[in-house]
């Protein structure tokens, strides 16, 4: 089947930006999952997918938010497509506008030249 590579849009300087990816690898130590983290930069298009929603609870105020990323880079989702099965990796986290987002969903469109990821705000600050 002929495939149309639409990924050149991702490198369009009008949309493309650099972001930091935090990769978490874990090892098992007596029933506990011990995580180490390293980081690298990647490029892609980041689009906000929701408002920053304020939720008031008796314990404090919580903020939730979602973004999407279109990128050439293979990012990891825990135990999902693309994650090396020989090692235990957690979902990657991405820093966007000073806040960390956690990848919760991945769409492998590499046949058309790109990956798409959905992320949720992990740490509100």
């Amino acid at each position: 089947m002929p495939l149309v590579d639409v990924s050149e849009v991702i490198t369009d300087p009008d949309f493309n930006q650099t972001f930091t990816v935090y990769r978490k690898k874990g090892t098992w130590n007596n029933g506990r999952f011990v995580v180490t983290e390293n980081s690298f930069t990647a490029n892609g298009i980041i689009i906000s997918q929701s408002n920053e929603e304020l939720d008031i609870t008796p314990q404090g105020a919580l903020i939730s938010s979602q973004i999407s990323i279109w990128t050439y880079s293979l990012l990891y989702v825990t135990s999902q497509d693309g994650t090396p099965q020989t090692d235990d990796y957690l979902s990657d986290e991405v820093e966007y506008k000073g806040q960390r987002y956690l990848i919760t969903a991945a769409r492998n469109m590499i046949d058309y030249g790109y990956y798409k990821y959905n992320l949720i705000l992990k740490v509100a600050s």
Partner: protein, 184 residues
């Protein structure tokens, strides 16, 4: 708070089931960073500990010990805890039953007694509760065990050995008075 008990229980589970805690086959549940899951054919045991309140948990004993310049107060009590165990995988029912029976064997009782943990004889029957995920049935059997655990909290306080006091008279004179507790 329950790290010692968790470690002792992991050792017992590994011995009873031959599953490996260094490969994620035995795991402490509710980790801050949730670990990857497992395959349909894998056997995995996850557990967590929660405090219980019953008549054995009602009494507290306090003792104090003086040591030169310090006073140590020790509060000893019976910490009644419930260990919630979920066995997953094709052998879930076998492992749940084995844990329920074998944890009362003298070998395991002796090992757990080393950290002051004593399993209560009566425990509810394991519950077989398979669940559907990704259009497949996954095997699961839950089990609850109760333990009486000897626990202590320790506080240390320094004695007041001496105090400097300045006495100012109504004529403006100042005199320093030193009270020394150690001189008797």
């Amino acid at each position: 708070m329950y790290t010692n008990l968790e470690n002792a229980f992991i050792t017992a589970l590994a011995s009873i089931t031959s599953l490996k805690p260094n490969k994620g086959e035995i795991r402490v549940a509710y980790a801050e960073e949730p670990a990857p899951s497992w395959k349909h054919t894998d056997d995995v045991i996850a557990f967590y500990i929660e405090p219980l309140m019953n008549e054995y948990a009602e009494d507290y004993f306090e003792s104090t010990e003086e040591n030169k310049d310090k006073l140590t107060r020790t509060t000893t009590f019976t910490d009644v805890v419930k260990i919630n165990i979920s066995c997953y995988g094709p052998n879930s029912r076998l492992y749940a039953k084995k844990i329920q029976v074998y944890i009362q064997k003298s070998d395991y009782r002796r090992a757990l007694a080393q950290i002051g943990a004593y399993p209560v004889l009566k425990s509810p029957s394991p519950r077989y509760i398979p669940y559907e995920y990704n259009k497949q049935w996954w095997q699961r059997t839950d089990l609850e065990l109760t333990f009486n655990v000897k626990n202590t909290f320790t506080d240390t306080t320094n004695f007041i050995k001496s105090v400097n006091i300045s006495v100012i008279t109504d004529k403006g004179d100042t005199r320093d008075v030193i009270t020394d507790q150690t001189s008797g």
